[in-house]
């Protein structure tokens, strides 16, 4: 072990913890002097005079928020063990008084045993709530001689293991090809002080702290319901960071972005001490708002009362909002790192190869015994074998991890055996960070817009646009995946002014609209797909003008050109509509059609996108049997989070054109 790590550890531990729990109280682990009730009472009085229970730090350490249901505040923590007063969940003042009393209550037998067993059982409140202790001690200047404990072995072990030298906010990217990973995820990584001092990159060995729901059902419907209504407990977990790298970077092939935070040793300590405090309790987990991303920001705030992170968030919290909130605090982020996913590493590995090399990579991924040309140098062979192993991993990672005894494992082993036999070392991959995809640079995740337009030969209309999340193919592409659209609750209303009244119609409302395009190349033949469902005003669709629910999905192919500036795609779609005013199959109110959909997206600049789509749908044996439409959108983001959008749509019954001003927030 390196002797250099001790100075850092000592700075951290000694400055903040060891001095806070002084060693000169008598006897190891024994009760100190009897707590004098009058001393505790004096402390409580002083705390109340100073209004400490209203201080930002206290409010945040206890997770008090304005109550949704009554006057006053309520803690978002839902574990009884988190409060020392029975009224603690709703009464910051009572909780503070009870905390002070508990800190100076003598050590019980059980607590002494918990100390002796280092971390098992329930230790003394000072050891359960070290962040509260550190702050109150600083505010009130505790008399060290009156403290009932001399140390907290369990907590100190925890500190030693994590060995915190710095904190990084980790964001794992969106990946629409797995609908699962659509919105991304955030967690914290504590950089080990020992590695920082030694100047090593040993990130995999750092500890990650993750907030997630503890799922107790295998039933998908129950899962959805419980998650939406906060019926799963959310808890913090600690694991070596390599679990997360393997899970997100390899298994799900998502790129990872890391925002290294500029925190003082005291702030790092307070964050970790606070995580220890909440580690044995839980917060009800709500997918939409009180989720992993929200909670991670709340932990950061609890440790750093001068930070304002949650204030920057709206009601629904997406992981990307967390990195934006962090970036809005000037100076808080000192460095940004990029960790390429398995797929990105493979793309980088083949970037410089010619067609002949690529042929061999493909053949090796099919047949591990495929012979390489005798004329090739070992270096050349190693490059092709390395790329083939990466490709094989990308295609088979799930099988490899779950089915150790499968064909895939044997195939990969043979590729690697041939590679190892060459003996020379591969150069470390150096994948440049795609700065244009950095999530903090993306437009706001919500959108609202205002505009107007007209129908050929008819009156004009005004348009209102709103979308809860997140991105469509015409929105400015910086910070988002280039070939993906994920919209949640996009809504368009039209306002029709006429001489005597104003009419409001719902033009289109979708619950969800997803388009996932994958550019076909020789190594990736994944299909592109889309799905949407909602309610829309239909015209000449078995009714003259009526509102009907719809669902639509399609699959097809996409191909990108010019570094993805141009994307062409085609899908075969299936379309369903249902509504009381519709006339459809056998005169029922249900319609079903199918047909081709074509699209082209041209990115002239990250802030200037042209999108053209056309479709033809056939509704056999139904009124208005043949439907076609074409739409063109030109969207220019002239300032951050502001865009103008010119949109035109041609249909059998006429041409609509409108101009919109869109704001992202």
């Amino acid at each position: 072990m390196s002797g250099y790590m001790w100075p850092v550890r000592l700075t951290l531990l000694a400055a903040v913890w060891l001095t806070a729990v002084p060693a000169h109280a008598h006897g190891p682990g024994l009760a100190g002097p009897d707590p004098s009730a009058s001393y505790t009472n004096r402390l409580i009085e002083r705390a109340q005079r100073l209004g400490l229970h209203e201080a930002g730090q206290w409010q945040r350490l206890l997770h008090y928020r304005r109550s949704k249901y009554s006057a006053g505040v309520e803690s978002e923590n839902d574990g009884a063990a988190f409060f020392l007063s029975r009224r603690g969940k709703r009464d910051p003042r009572a909780e503070l008084a009870a905390t002070l009393r508990a800190f100076f209550s003598p050590l019980t037998k059980a607590q002494r045993r918990a100390n002796a067993e280092r971390g098992k059982g329930v230790p003394h409140p000072i050891c359960r709530f070290p962040a509260r202790f550190a702050w109150l001690s600083q505010q009130l200047g505790f008399d060290a001689a009156r403290l009932p404990v001399t140390g907290c072995p369990g907590f100190v072990d925890f500190l030693r293991e994590v060995d915190p030298g710095g904190v990084t906010l980790v964001f794992s990217s969106y990946y629409l090809n797995n609908p699962a990973s659509a919105f991304g995820h955030t967690l914290l990584r504590f950089r080990k002080a020992s590695a920082m001092v030694a100047g090593d990159r040993r990130d995999l060995l750092d500890y990650a702290v993750d907030f997630s729901a503890d799922v107790d059902t295998g039933n998908a419907l129950l899962y959805a319901i419980k998650g939406l209504f906060g019926m799963f407990p959310g808890t913090v977990k600690r694991m070596p960071f390599y679990y997360k790298v393997r899970e997100y970077g390899d298994y799900e092939t998502r790129d990872i972005w890391e925002y290294e935070l500029n925190l003082t040793p005291r702030q790092v300590f307070m964050l970790l001490a606070h995580i220890w405090e909440v580690g044995r309790t839980f917060f009800r987990y709500f997918y939409i708002d009180e989720n992993c991303s929200y909670r991670i920001l709340m932990f950061l705030e609890a440790a750093n009362p001068e930070l304002d992170l949650v204030e920057h968030l709206g009601e629904a919290v997406l992981p990307a909002d967390t990195v934006k909130a962090v970036m809005r605090n000037p100076g808080l982020v000192k460095a940004i790192h990029y960790r390429p996913s398995l797929r990105t590493q493979f793309k980088h590995a083949i970037a410089g190869m010619d067609d002949d090399d690529l042929d061999h990579v493909e053949l090796l991924a099919e047949d591990a015994g495929h012979p390489l040309p005798a004329t090739w140098s070992d270096r050349h062979r190693s490059q092709v074998l390395d790329a083939a192993a990466d490709l094989f991993d990308v295609r088979n990672v799930k099988d490899l991890i779950k089915k150790r005894d499968g064909q895939a494992a044997e195939h990969k082993r043979e590729l690697l055996r041939r590679r190892a036999a060459l003996g020379l070392k591969s150069p470390p991959p150096d994948v440049p960070a795609p700065v244009e995809e950095r999530p903090d640079g993306g437009h706001g995740s919500k959108r609202a817009g205002l505009g107007g337009g007209g129908r050929e030969g008819l009156r004009g209309f005004g348009t209102l646009d709103f979308r809860l999340a997140m991105h469509d193919l015409a929105d400015p592409s910086t910070g988002y995946p280039e070939l993906a659209q994920l919209e949640f609750l996009p809504t368009r209303l039209r306002v029709w002014p006429s001489s005597n009244r104003i009419q409001l119609t719902l033009d289109d409302f979708a619950v969800v609209r997803i388009v996932s395009l994958t550019s076909i190349d020789r190594f990736d033949q994944s299909i592109s797909w889309k799905v949407e469902t909602g309610v829309r005003t239909f015209e000449r669709m078995g009714c003259d003008r009526c509102l009907a629910g719809y669902g639509r999905g399609g699959g097809g192919l996409a191909r990108a050109f010019m570094g993805r500036a141009l994307v062409l795609f085609a899908t075969l779609d299936l379309s369903l509509q249902a509504g009381p005013d519709l006339t459809g199959v056998a005169d029922s109110p249900l319609r079903a059609g199918a047909g081709p959909f074509l699209g082209a997206r041209l990115r002239l600049d990250p802030n200037l996108v042209v999108l053209l789509v056309g479709e033809w749908l056939w509704y056999p044996k139904q009124p208005d049997e043949s439907q076609w439409g074409a739409e063109a959108t030109l969207r220019w983001s002239f300032a951050r989070d502001l865009a103008v959008s010119v949109e035109a749509a041609a249909r059998p019954f006429g041409l609509d054109a409108e101009l919109m001003l869109l704001s992202y927030f």
């Binding site: 369990g154 040993r202 997630s212 295998g218 899962y223 298994y251 044995r280 987990y285 590679r419 070392k425």
Partner: protein
């Protein structure tokens, strides 16, 4: 209302999401399959990923010593856990004679020079991975044995 809308959204995602087969992973050790994906079944696994739920990670508490597989403090046990969990990336790094997993493993094992560790492991590839289906625990034991068999690597934390 918002939450109700999201319920509908969830149902839709459920319909489009493809089912992932989660085969039970029987091997002992700290393999990724058993540690993270072990108990989750197909569709719920996808949901878990969408919404950051987890059902396979109960082993990861916050307190000290919650799981042998969650120890990255250094020494033989944490080196073994590291090898087992990182097996897929690690096997590639061994074949290539260098890489992030080798640097990190060297730190766990206390070895003096990660470059030398990379060369040694590379030349021992067939001993470490005798077969594609070698158990994770066999692989990790073989790695530790290899490192110990080379005193010049000075992997001081392996005991």
């Amino acid at each position: 209302m918002k939450r109700a809308a999201v319920a509908v959204f969830s149902l839709v995602v459920m319909l489009v999401a493809t089912t992932v087969q989660a085969d039970p992973y029987g091997t002992a050790g700290c393999g990724l399959g058993s540690m993270i994906f072990g108990d989750e079944k197909g569709i719920v696994q996808i949901f878990a990923a969408t919404t950051n739920g987890s059902s396979g990670t109960q082993t990861f508490g916050i307190t000290t010593g919650t799981s042998n597989c969650a120890d990255s403090g250094g020494g033989t046990d944490s080196a073994k856990a590291f090898i087992e969990t990182n097996r897929e990336a690690f096997s590639k790094d061994v074949a290539r004679g260098q890489g992030e997993t080798i640097t990190n493993l060297s730190a766990l094992a206390g070895c003096a020079d990660p470059r030398a560790v990379g060369s040694t492991l590379q030349s021992s590839f067939e001993a470490i991975f005798p077969q594609g289906d070698s158990a994770d625990t066999e692989v990790s034991r073989a790695v530790i044995d290899t490192l110990k068999a080379h005193p010049e690597l000075a992997c001081g934390l392996l005991g």
